[in-house]
């Protein structure tokens, strides 16, 4: 427990602070509304999306919670934003007590190369984030519709 916190702290130092400055105002506002201004920390959740996307119409995405957390730290909700989409909201997911392992997989649309950001709200009032910057290549053949 203690060790993990330390590791999370170290990760914070190594990473650019929650992409401050880079986040689009729209997404920053949505995250602000979610967190009420509380600090976003790295850790607890992990976002997985391929770094190189063949077609932005259906991109596999997983948000997981790699390490067990205590009941008090339970992940209550996960929110995903795609900065480069016309509407940056992707999904808001809420987990009840019977959800054994909070997290989800789905397929999402990505309009262009961009950064995808996941934010988790925990029962202890903390907020955690992970993000991935990815490239989207497009299909070449033009279709009739």
């Amino acid at each position: 427990m203690h060790r993990r916190m330390l590791l999370a702290g170290a990760a914070l130092l190594a990473l650019p602070p929650a992409r401050a400055g880079a986040t689009k105002p729209e997404v920053a506002a949505a995250i602000q509304a979610l967190t009420g201004g509380a600090k976003l920390r790295q850790g607890r959740i992990k976002l997985d999306i391929p770094l190189l996307v063949e077609n932005g119409n259906a991109v596999a995405m997983t948000v997981s919670v790699p390490d067990a957390v205590s009941e008090a730290e339970r992940i209550r909700s996960i929110h995903v934003f795609a900065e480069g989409n016309p509407n940056p909201n992707v999904i808001n997911a809420f987990f009840g007590p019977r959800s054994g392992r909070p997290g989800l997989s789905t397929r999402i649309r990505l309009a262009t190369s961009q950064t995808v950001i996941a934010v988790a709200a925990c029962a202890d009032g903390t907020f955690w984030t992970d993000s991935i910057e990815l490239l989207v290549t497009l299909a070449a053949c033009i279709d009739e519709i």
Partner: protein
């Protein structure tokens, strides 16, 4: 409209955490596309998905147009007792559909 495909174990041990996978036939029309004469195609998506287990909510999601056509979703559930798992989803027109599965907990 095609039936959804649901994948979940029929029987699990108490306390075990298991995955439910669901694939739903739906175009998830984003509202961003235009038809061949340039007219915008109105948004028509599934915007809400709820899963209950023994009547209690386990998982709920708000979908936005960024969820791909024919939505695919995996989430997990902790086996507590034998019972019914009900999944309900609602689209922009307010129409709801549901499917249920039974789970035996040993």
């Amino acid at each position: 409209m095609a039936r959804p495909l649901i994948n979940a174990p029929k029987s699990v041990r108490r306390g075990e955490v298991f995955d439910i996978r669901i694939l739903i036939a739906h175009p998830m029309e984003s509202g961003q596309r235009r038809d061949d004469v340039g007219k915008p195609i109105p948004r028509e998506i599934i915007n809400r998905f709820v899963c209950t287990y023994g009547g209690e909510e386990v998982f709920r999601a708000e979908f936005f147009p960024a969820i791909a056509a024919n939505p695919f979703l995996t989430f997990s559930v902790s086996a507590v007792e034998s019972g019914v798992i009900v999944m309900t989803w609602t689209d922009d027109l307010g129409a709801s559909q549901f499917e249920s599965i039974e789970i035996t907990v040993t």
